[in-house]
Symmetry: C2
Subunit: 461 residues, 2 copies
């Protein structure tokens, strides 16, 4: 009746991809970090019982599987051998995580002064940091150049001038990449290819702006053009979008070579590698992706008669997403009758849209499991909702849970590492949850829970 009505309301059915599991107590491995297991129905991660971990920090809490994070980082590093792999800090960044990224031999992308601060406090070598953003301030740029950030991805003609000015003032030559738009937008198994892109990022290849940007950088004595940068979307499961984008970007790369006599040494194809949030998702592994993308680039370079530039990619979600889950305590359970005679079990937990805005923001699906005990009860289709004063405050839209789920139970939601804590808010004056890293039977709080004093620190009364 209306497209303006709030999400989640008046949708009576569960989706076709949701299948009743053989064992509702079992984990679906693809959704969970590598050390996650159920022991007598109790979720364990990093060799620790999740109920024990959260007994110390309360719920909601993010549990980060350090081994899993590091293994995924290595899988990209080794799968994309010969590439520079930049971890996209916007997915989730803390000082500990920045350190792990560096220790595993990855580079790091930041997109704000705050993220740069975290990286530097973690001791990340500035030369291994890339700096993104469509609207970096002059002050941001000054600090980035001063600190010796390895590359700044420039996004507008204004910014080319600003970076050049700052570099000149500081007496350095700043390496930059030129962010281009190739008219390709990809998501899951689909992509759209157009001549133009109606978005804020980058310089259009089609309009000629991207070539002009490269020209200005080449001609600036204060900038070192490392290459072009393209990013086509998010949560992508196949490489057909990259194929079209790479063709267009490499054509520009070749034109810069031919017309400006300048061979850019590098090319960045961005991020967007998909992960499994539910059983409907089927992510490829890093080495398969690497092989496909390399093949695309190589055949294009051959066709264009150019040397293959040194490649880089920027996974964020694909490393931290599946490495983290969120643990909630159930507060209430409610049977709601739907029109048509069906029933839905609403399970309210002690977090919600303040710690995971993605269901409301992107209509994102998640999964979950009962984490604190085994159950013999028949599965029911549940909707896990948060505690916020908003009907769109949904954590998991559709999932099978044991029919005896009850207040006091713990429910764990996998794959919340990306854009969970990083987009968290204090909506309804909620306190943002901690992130607890677990590994080899030990846990460590790497981001502590907020307190009311934190929350009111900025309230001047």
């Amino acid at each position: 009746m209306s497209s303006h009505l709030s999400p989640g309301s008046f949708t009576g059915t569960s989706p076709v991809w949701l299948r009743e599991p053989d064992d509702v107590n079992a984990l679906v491995p693809v959704l969970w970090s590598s050390t996650a297991e159920k022991i007598d129905g109790v979720l364990h991660i990093g060799g620790l019982s999740v109920p024990d971990v959260v007994a110390n920090v309360n719920t909601p809490a993010f549990i980060l599987d350090e081994d899993d994070f590091r293994a995924r980082a290595r899988a990209f590093r080794d799968g994309f051998a010969g590439y520079d792999v930049y971890y996209a800090g916007k997915a989730f960044l803390s000082i500990a995580v920045a350190r792990w990224v560096a220790e595993e031999g990855l580079f790091l992308d930041v997109c704000s002064d705050g993220e740069l601060t975290v990286a530097l406090r973690a001791g990340v070598d500035p030369a291994r940091i890339g700096y993104h953003g469509n609207n970096k301030s002059a002050m941001d740029l000054r600090r980035a150049v001063h600190e010796g950030v390895g590359r700044i991805i420039v996004d507008s003609f204004f910014e080319i001038e600003r970076v050049a000015d700052v570099a000149a003032q500081l007496g350095v030559v700043q390496p930059v990449m030129v962010r281009v738009t190739a008219g390709v937008e990809a998501h899951t198994h689909e992509f759209i290819a157009t001549a133009h892109e109606d978005q804020k990022f980058g310089f259009s290849i089609n309009s000629g702006d991207a070539f002009e940007a490269a020209r200005r950088v080449v001609e600036s004595g204060d900038l070192d053009l490392r290459g072009l940068h393209s990013h086509i979307g998010s949560q992508i499961f196949d490489t057909s979008g990259w194929e079209v984008a790479a063709r267009r970007v490499l054509a520009l790369h070749a034109r810069v070579d031919a017309e400006l006599g300048f061979v850019m040494p590098e090319l960045d194809l961005g991020g967007g590698f998909g992960i499994a949030y539910t059983t409907q998702d089927d992510p490829a592994d890093a080495s398969d992706l690497a092989q496909q993308i390399s093949t695309i680039v190589e055949s294009q370079c051959e066709a264009l008669g150019i040397e293959r530039p040194h490649l880089s990619i920027e996974p964020g979600r694909a490393i931290v997403g599946p490495a983290m889950c969120t643990v909630y305590t159930v507060g209430t359970v409610k049977q709601v009758s739907l029109d048509g005679g069906a029933e839905r079990t609403y399970v309210s937990v002690d977090g919600g849209m303040s710690d995971n805005i993605r269901p409301a923001l992107y209509d994102a699906d998640y999964s979950c499991t009962l984490a604190s005990r085994a159950s013999d009860a028949s599965p029911v289709i549940a909707r896990v909702v948060g505690k916020h004063c908003e009907s769109g405050d949904i954590v998991v839209k559709h999932e099978f849970l044991p029919g005896d789920v009850q207040p006091g139970d713990l429910v764990a939601v996998p794959s919340t590492g990306a854009y969970g804590r990083s987009m968290a808010s204090n909506y309804n004056h909620a306190l943002r949850p901690p992130v607890v890293a677990v590994k080899d039977g030990s846990s460590r709080v790497i981001v502590r829970r907020e307190t009311v004093d934190d929350l009111l620190a900025t309230d001047m009364g």
Copy 2:
């Protein structure tokens, strides 16, 4: 081609409601707080030049027009004479604002321990506080009852037991209201009426749960049933949805009277009063709404042969929304070619989805004006975007701005008081903006800007 692609992309046209203004420098009064005016093209609020105000606090910044906030509070108080008017703190709450609410004779709704803390620090009389939420914890409830909160809106059978237990332990009789769902969901000029509601809040009238909830509260010696509570939606512009809801809720009210022999003294019809974000919105004034709602309730009570209960309502957005605007500094301006030959002017500002998630979350429209100077340039259709690493990071989807808008200009977005700062995040490690109250030529920072130290206070390294 796909419903999964990111918002804001590949939408080439501007909406039908957007009309070129006669004077692009002029304010559209309905969108702005009452003291807002342009003087020689410069935005003034509360008798102060906005450029001067933000010179002291930097941008982005929220500017809160104290006189306007108080006047809107009084308009509801006086327009809904004979009602209790609860300000819904979830829209925006700080200690100063809670104090203004109390000073203007309004009651206050909170929905978390954090909001309750703010209210108590502001010195709000607990008896004038209502406490909402579908999943209040036992600890939350204990504190609320202990502090003497005037009414708790109970939302589940579990909660009825919990509140009764806490009240018994503390030796008090706790006033409560029963949140019911009437099968009505309203937004703008539309409403949906069904038998059931597929949402987390309340007890269904149709299923009988709502009557059962009332019965249990009546029979509890530890609880005092004040009445039923219904909330039908948000950003509502006409009262037809309230009419259907009131009919259903009053029928239950009468049934409780008839079958339980208990006359509930009160009835709360919730909030959802719409405001103008753009020229497409046409909000009614408070006294018109009051008259219409009172007429609906009175005719229903007459038809049912019952006495009209004491009424309460809960405006939040309608008080604070138009009282606040956000001021940004332009960082870049970019012409983007669209398929079909059109062009769009992208204006990047120094905030975005971290200080206003509503465009991305609800596809919400906003307006804006050049705040720092007059311009003779012809208007262009601009899209104002934020600085975040996400293509959906849009502040104002479509607005006319002078064609010479340039870096360094200030742009002000009206009607950001509700769910702007309250839903703000640190996405991309952005620092959340201050709220500056202005009045009679003076300004006061009531919420200060976050610092990097605030941001990293919870990072344990």
